[in-house]
Symmetry: C2
Subunit: 382 residues, 2 copies
């Protein structure tokens, strides 16, 4: 339930035409957007550091490609995303039949769950891990088992134990991890694949992998039908607002997405932007350096305030506020009141942390300025 918030805008009213499953689903959403908070506060955030976006932005070539595509917006985007799919396949040295492009990892995860999880089927994830996976599993009538972290790292062995015990269909791991930022080496991931119970699929979410040390992403035979991995243009490529993610998997599984996906769902601008971003390796490398510097500065700011930053292989840093979830929540709220948007895990003991995305110098100036006040206020309220 990490990061899940009750929506609370409407009273619970249920249309009698809903299926029993749809009627049973909670009125929660995986994330509340910063715009919703801004509307409630009546002013915009000064620093947007809560959604693990990349303010160093997309390649100027990607922006130019999207601008050119805007003038062509009267045409539907290519439903096969042919050019982009070819380019991604070439980038990874696999055939296009192993690549499926979609509306972000979120959208692709939803389709994967729909394809594999029937009523009562088990899926395994981490307690406090990425809530959108749970949202989809619950949404399709599956059962979710949440394995506590091992300290501040995903408990890879624990996930496999529960998968085996329950005969799970899906085992989800984000590597590097969100929201804590930790990472497992490629060996651990390979071991997970080799230890999967029969009939299970490893869902390897590599949204943040470009930020991780070399060797984090295991080489995986794309014909291996025990694993599907996900990548995105939202993080390292700075294209969150264009919503493009992709899956790498075995050809039969990838082909099955065609049976259920929104074929014309990927916009023309998004396809053009992602293609241009993929080709601009220099911009990507430069952006990764910016993120590494920002990560170091977030850690330094934490230390200056007597707080412990967690090691991060992502574009964000979880900072241990040194107390319980209540303290961290007050720090988060105090930062928001000072115009700084951050998020935090929703489950103990992870929720002793706030999670701060790698921002620009100006963003982190605002964070550095607001943190001591927010901390003082949060501690005083104890």
């Amino acid at each position: 339930m990490s990061l899940l918030r009750p929506r609370g805008i409407l009273l619970r009213m249920t249309d009698p035409r809903l299926t029993p499953l749809a009627a049973s689903l909670p009125d929660t959403v995986p994330f509340i957007g910063p715009e919703t908070q801004e509307r409630a506060m009546g002013r915009p955030f000064r620093a947007r550091l809560g959604a693990n976006e990349n303010p160093f932005g997309p390649s100027p070539r990607a922006i130019e490609a999207m601008r050119a595509a805007a003038a062509q917006a009267w045409m539907y985007g290519d439903p096969e995303s042919h050019e982009l799919r070819q380019a991604i396949a070439a980038h990874h040295g696999v055939k296009p039949a192993h690549i499926r492009v979609g509306e972000g990892i979120d959208g692709l995860l939803g389709l994967l769950v729909r394809l594999t999880i029937g009523a009562g089927d088990w899926a395994i994830t981490s307690l406090g891990g990425y809530p959108t996976f749970e949202f989809h599993v619950t949404g399709f009538g599956g059962r979710i088992e949440q394995v506590p972290y091992d300290g501040d790292r995903v408990d890879a062995a624990g996930l496999m134990d529960r998968a085996t015990a329950l005969g799970a269909k899906l085992v989800y791991i984000a590597n590097p991890d969100n929201p804590m930022g930790g990472v497992h080496g490629a060996d651990t991931i390979r071991e997970m694949i080799d230890n999967l119970p029969a009939g299970a699929l490893l869902v390897l979410d590599e949204a943040y992998v470009e930020f991780a040390p070399d060797g984090t992403a295991p080489e995986i035979d794309p014909t291996d039908d025990r694993v599907i991995r996900f990548r995105t243009f939202s993080k390292a490529h700075g294209l969150a607002g264009a919503r493009v993610g992709y899956a790498i998997g075995s050809a039969p599984l990838i082909a099955a997405f065609d049976r259920v996906r929104n074929h014309f769902g990927l916009t023309r601008m998004a396809q053009a932007g992602a293609l241009a971003a993929l080709k601009d390796r220099d911009w990507l490398a430069q952006g990764l350096e910016h993120v590494a510097s920002a990560r170091a500065r977030i850690a330094a700011i934490a230390h200056e305030n007597g707080l412990a930053p967690l090691p991060s292989a992502t574009n964000f840093v979880a900072i241990d506020c040194g107390g319980d979830g209540g303290l961290a929540r007050r720090v988060m709220t105090g930062l928001a009141a000072r115009g700084v948007f951050v998020r935090m895990p929703g489950v103990a003991p992870l929720d002793r942390c706030i999670r701060v995305s790698a921002g620009t110098e100006a963003d982190l100036d605002a964070f550095a300025q607001a943190l001591p006040e927010a901390l003082e206020e949060a501690r005083a309220a104890t």
Copy 2:
């Protein structure tokens, strides 16, 4: 099955991890994109008249808004599409709680079917009608009943008869109709709503309603939970490539979409473009005039070739080629060979027609040039 084509790219390979439902789904897609045909032909179409796109294009203000948003693409789009939703609500004189914005009508239809159709539930549509509705119903394990057209118009009474007989959950009607272009008056739609069996929902697809005569769209009390209507920015607003549609419905049903939708699925550029397009009423009016002229010219071209154009309340014209489905298919293929992309219904007797979208002068010049040759060739092959 109208317009459905077997995909035929991969042999049928099924991943053993699929649910029984997913494993049972056909390897078909609702539409093959023109880009796929272009790649097969090795050259682009001269005239793109098959997807009912609007080549008069979006408002220049919408293009400018999308271009500005491209530079902000590092940020996720507002998951509530707040501004756009407010503007649409104001435009229709309803509260925002009655509006749900999504990734085109296709995407919203999929969510609606997911919310309402369980295994074995019945949905009613027209035989030869919009194939994407059938794609979704089948995809969620529902059963579909296809009612033959009454001549070339949707059989509104027939739909209701079958809905009552089968205790259907959903009754789909596109008004104006795709692919034949006909239209029912508002009175007929109101009558359908009043005659719906208990527990059924009328799915009123008004994708083309801006092109229809005044009075086509019935006034509907947005609190009426027996009907949900769909509109799009893809057609009259010329924004197919941005993929923005919306639903107008009762607040509990609209709220239920939040339980299953891809919350961050709508791109930043799409939201900005749709908002600007909605506000530019002059551009819309001008575009509708262009479409009306193009429609008249398509009809004239048909007459010049001794063919019968069907009356149209949309941005396309179905042309009766005067023979069977085989003849019309040969005409369509002959047009494609001459660089003109059109489509055709897939079911008899509708499939005696080709369907030609309202294009620019240059597009229709190409069509006028290619049609006599394509016709002659098609007839010679009989």
